[in-house]
């Protein structure tokens, strides 16, 4: 079974972002970029499926600017076999990303597609579900456990009330939650080897997809700042403040 993994280049999760002074967007100049953490988990899961003999090949794909090839190389170093880069400098929204990914699914015919549940920049949490709709495939979102059994996929999902287990027909779309696995680090020899693995560059035009978005970004503002309050010296003082000053307990 071939496994396709979609990864996204985003701001490193440790970076504190700044909003541009003209409020047009977030300032990403000279900011450290990395693979979206949920996508790292997706790559790890695919590589583990290959190590277990369930997957035969792991293909990674990204839609984004030229620089996103760094993240594809990282995925190759982590164990993916080959990469596809759909190159664009446009601001791609989830639906556009899903349309491009649907074309890649049509071409590659994977048995399973794994995506992150959300990208930590736009926090959309949409692309996997949209891809499932466009390809007509079932979806197992927010997965904390997946297993292929008798040609079907068992997915345990993190839901608001606890956990839910579903069985899906294959091919299927899975999106990863934090506890699906703990991704490994790439070793230096693997990073060297990754440079020689195949990376194919495509364009939205040759895939025949329209990436233009119908959701306009009008403005980006910093959130209302919270002022740091005071330090209290004891539990007594804390209770007194909560009762008499903040009046949130009685």
């Amino acid at each position: 079974m071939k496994v396709l993994v979609a990864i996204k280049r985003v701001i490193d999760y440790n970076v504190k972002i700044r909003v541009k002074s003209d409020h047009s967007d977030v300032d990403l100049t000279n900011v450290k970029m990395a693979m979206n953490p949920f996508c790292e988990i997706a790559v790890e899961e695919a590589v583990r499926l290959k190590e277990k003999g369930v997957a035969t090949e792991v293909v990674v794909v990204t839609i984004g600017p030229k620089a996103a090839q760094e993240q594809l190389r990282t995925a190759l170093a982590l164990g993916a076999d080959r990469a596809i880069h759909v190159e664009t400098d446009l601001r791609v929204e989830s639906l556009g990303a899903a349309r491009a990914l649907a074309k890649i699914v049509e071409e590659q015919q994977p048995g399973l597609v794994i995506l992150g549940k959300q990208a930590i920049d736009t926090d959309n949490n949409q692309t996997g579900q949209m891809l499932a709709a466009l390809t007509g495939l079932p979806q197992g979102t927010f997965a904390s456990e997946v297993a292929v059994e008798d040609g079907r996929l068992r997915v345990t999902r993190e839901i608001d009330g606890g956990l839910e287990t579903l069985e899906l027909t294959l091919p299927a779309i899975v999106t990863t939650d934090l506890r699906l696995n703990e991704p490994r680090y790439a070793k230096l020899p693997d990073i060297m080897k990754a440079k020689k693995k195949p990376l194919e560059v495509r364009t939205p035009a040759d895939l025949g997809v329209e990436l233009a978005s119908r959701i306009k970004l009008l403005k980006v503002e910093p959130p209302a700042e919270r002022q740091a309050g005071i330090k209290v010296g004891s539990v007594d003082e804390l209770i007194d403040k909560l009762k008499n000053e903040a009046k949130v307990i009685s």
Binding site: I11, I17, V19, V26, E93, S94, L95, A98, I120, T122, D123, N124, N125, Q126, Q129, M130, A132, A133, L137, P138, Q139, T141, F142, E158, I159, D160, G161, G162, L163, E164, T165, L166, E167, L168, T169, A172, D177, S213, R214, I215, K216, L217, L218, K219, V220, P222, P223, R226, A228, G229, I230, K231, V232, S234, V235, L238, L242, A246, V248, I249
Partner: protein
């Protein structure tokens, strides 16, 4: 154009979140219908019909809709959506699972987790773990939107005795792709994390699952819900449904007490809209103190028993 709101429900009860989403819908304006999807959901439809501002309740009650699996639920909603200008749902794990699928079936974008309505097509939503607020405008004719429940005050029940008309939907979406196997739901007599007035959360500093009982005893006294940081959930101190943060639950209680939590941005994303924040941490430089109204630098194993005694 009219607005369709997907009702959120759990264990046969209409969830509070629905009344918050209805409030957001009323700000957009227009005729408002609530869709109840599930199996054996008559009582939920009845409850939804009593929400202020609801003009009609549509009910799709069928075994295929049990557990609101994404495939049949989105297919059903795609059948209904042409009559509406907006489709809204709570940004719950159900809404997040179903609405993007619906949007793609209709060939439109989706707007996630709005926190303010600026007009019929313009909304505010947090990005980058709440470190920036984007104002976005949809040019799609159908707007598919999830709503952050805590950002809108719930509508009340109607004053009139008889609620909105309830109408059965006969369309049954086939589903041979996904099968529900089982669920493990956390059982608790405490208030729901998302709507509790007081939340007390523990982090890695709690040290063990057993130590979470220190929080439980205080929660009992305050009528609070219990939350956790990701580190506490990953370490097995608390179940996943208790995680507060960018990738967990978003809470906005009157009082949030963070115990043994350092205050990573991903955690702050889930709780910094609380009215009053208390932090208990032994490290006086912990970033959580930068957002806390009241900070107590103390060992939690001394502070929590003292707090419990004095409440």
């Amino acid at each position: 154009m009219s607005i369709l709101v997907l009702a959120e429900h759990h264990n046969g009860v209409l969830a509070d979140a629905t009344a918050h989403v209805v409030a957001a819908a009323r700000q957009i304006g227009g005729e408002l219908h609530v869709l109840v999807v599930g199996e054996g959901v008559a009582a939920i439809a009845e409850a939804a019909s009593k929400l202020d501002g609801v003009g009609r309740v549509l009910v799709a009650d069928h075994a295929n809709y049990a557990h609101l699996l994404a495939e049949p639920t989105a297919a059903l909603m795609a059948q209904l959506a042409d009559d509406y200008g907006h489709v809204l749902a709570a940004a719950s794990t159900t809404g997040k699972n179903v609405l993007p699928r619906l949007a793609a079936l209709k060939g439109v974008g989706q707007i996630s987790e709005i926190i303010a309505v600026q007009g019929v097509d313009t909304f505010k939503r947090p990005i980058y773990a709440g470190n920036a607020i984007a104002t976005v405008q949809s040019e799609d004719t159908l707007k598919v939107i999830t709503v952050r429940a805590t950002a809108f005050d719930a509508v009340a029940a109607t004053q009139s005795d008889d609620g909105a008309a309830i109408e059965a939907i006969d369309f049954v979406a086939d589903n041979d792709q996904s099968t529900f196997i089982e669920e493990q739901l956390a059982e608790s007599d405490r208030p729901e994390l998302g709507s509790a007035k007081v939340v007390i959360s523990g982090g890695r500093g709690m040290g063990s699952r057993e130590n979470f009982q220190l929080l439980e005893r205080i929660a009992d006294k305050l009528g609070a819900a219990i939350g956790a940081s990701r580190a506490a959930v990953d370490a097995g101190f608390a179940p996943n449904d208790m995680q507060v943060g960018q990738t967990g639950k978003i809470v906005a209680p009157e009082l949030y007490i963070a115990v043994g939590i350092s205050g990573a941005i991903q955690h702050l994303a889930g709780m910094k809209d609380a009215k009053v924040i208390v932090a208990i941490n032994k490290d006086e430089d912990a970033p959580i103190f930068q957002v806390a109204d009241y900070g107590l630098v103390a060992d939690l194993f001394e502070a929590l028993p003292a707090l419990e005694r004095q409440l």
